[in-house]
Symmetry: C2
């Protein structure tokens, strides 16, 4: 079982920022990544639809005999994590919201947290609940930044457009003087430069990728599921559409090339 | 048969700019509009996937006994019109590319045409072929403007962001000194102000909505399918996800409110 892969699910390419963090912390593990590129993005879709898609994706990854499932999409974690944990009882299921909330609380000495995310994640309020559960006295402000998603996918991560759009979304948030800013969408870490340019160096930016990787490491350890450290890790990718675009755009998020031969087209219907 | 509705299909909300033009020219007709909001956008997806989605949508509209089918999405028209016309032989099927190409040729006295569209429409080359078929001596330059789609859906149609992004895409196009600019995506007409701000008043902007409505009018007339002019027209909407968002965002494109009671959730699987 310890040689089985870790399954990672995302709506498309953004979750590759989480895979990147996992590879850094767990270089000996095998990974299979599923991106639902035929139906992305999830951030503007309803909770019912996102949950249906997430259950289909989890089912496909389970057929690949994964030993742990990471929901590397904030919108899917926000809407569907309880349903996924109820449906999949044989392996641990880890989302990105709880690790993100944990990191946010640790970075907010004055109890002031700002969260940026997709429309769906903001309106579902999952970060708000996860943070308040840890510390009910924390003040949380949320802001949907939908345009950050296609900007990141187009590689418009710095320059005039990135700065203009970042100012549009973030100047009102900065005025609230938060201690930290949670990057509540896996696309946003690639825009860190533009975001920091508006928020300034005094406001910590919290990216759930690293804390999610830490949570996965702990879940593997407590389940006795760690692969032996002398083994070499492999990774493969499943996508529901457009392999060429996944390879081309995905490297923005993974920060490394993706081998087209490791990408397989699958159908989740 | 003449009382039957005209079916309109789009990936989401953009096709409402085509419905708007149809309502202006054919106010007595009944319309049923289908937006595939559970899987939008189509502009970044593969031809195979877009064609599969378009055939499912057309099938659903045919079950509503429409008398004519309008493919009010440039990407779906570009990839799937021949397949749709082959699959549906009982009613006329009208796309937006041919009427757009027709209007472009009429607006290009010096034979220089620029086309802006989604990634999919540009890489498929359907406008290029349709224009060259009419006039092989025409020079056509194409440019994908992916960010225009989510900007339009977010209502960021003027102001600093619209101007900055329009400059990014269009300054290189303007340098080619085209006679006209084809708005080859149904989302783009709501950005006309920002587009004209960069291109200047000397470059005609060609929007296929009006010419598509004219083509529909002619197809109805030649098939004896026009509804009598004393009748009052009705419209209904089918969406595959997120009725509330369709009503809220759709009015940007329709230019009028959408009655939530007229919107029904459907499943295309």
């Amino acid at each position: 079982m310890s040689d089985a892969a870790i399954g990672i699910f995302d709506s498309g390419m953004g979750g590759l920022t989480v895979l990147r963090a996992l590879l850094a912390q767990l270089p000996n593990e095998n990974f299979v990544y599923l991106g639902d590129t035929a139906r992305l993005p999830y951030g503007t879709k309803s909770g019912e639809t996102v949950s249906r898609y997430a259950l289909q994706a989890a089912d496909t990854l389970m057929q690949h005999h994964v030993k742990l499932l990471v929901i590397a999409c904030n919108t899917a974690s926000a809407y569907a994590l309880p349903a996924l944990q109820a449906a999949i009882v044989s392996v641990p299921v880890v989302g990105v919201i709880e690790p993100g909330a944990e990191a946010a609380c640790a970075s907010a000495p004055n109890g002031r947290i700002a969260v940026i995310a997709t429309e769906g994640t903001v309106s579902g309020g999952a970060y708000l609940r996860a943070i308040k559960q840890r510390d009910p006295n924390t003040s949380v402000i949320q802001k949907a930044c939908p345009l950050f998603v296609p900007m990141a996918e187009e590689g418009l991560t710095d320059g005039e457009i990135a700065t203009t759009v970042a100012r549009h979304y973030l100047v009102p948030l900065k005025a609230e003087r938060p201690d930290c800013l949670v990057l509540g969408c896996t696309h946003f870490p690639v825009l860190k430069g533009a975001i920091r340019g508006v928020m300034g160096p005094g406001i910590a930016s919290v990216d759930s990728a690293a804390t999610t990787a830490q949570a996965v490491k702990e879940a593997l350890a407590s389940g006795g599921l760690r692969r032996k450290e002398t083994a070499e890790g492999a990774r493969s990718y499943l996508v529901t559409d457009a392999v060429e675009r996944f390879v081309r755009v995905g490297k923005i998020f993974l920060g490394a090339p993706i081998d087209p031969a490791a990408v397989e087209l699958v159908d989740l219907r």
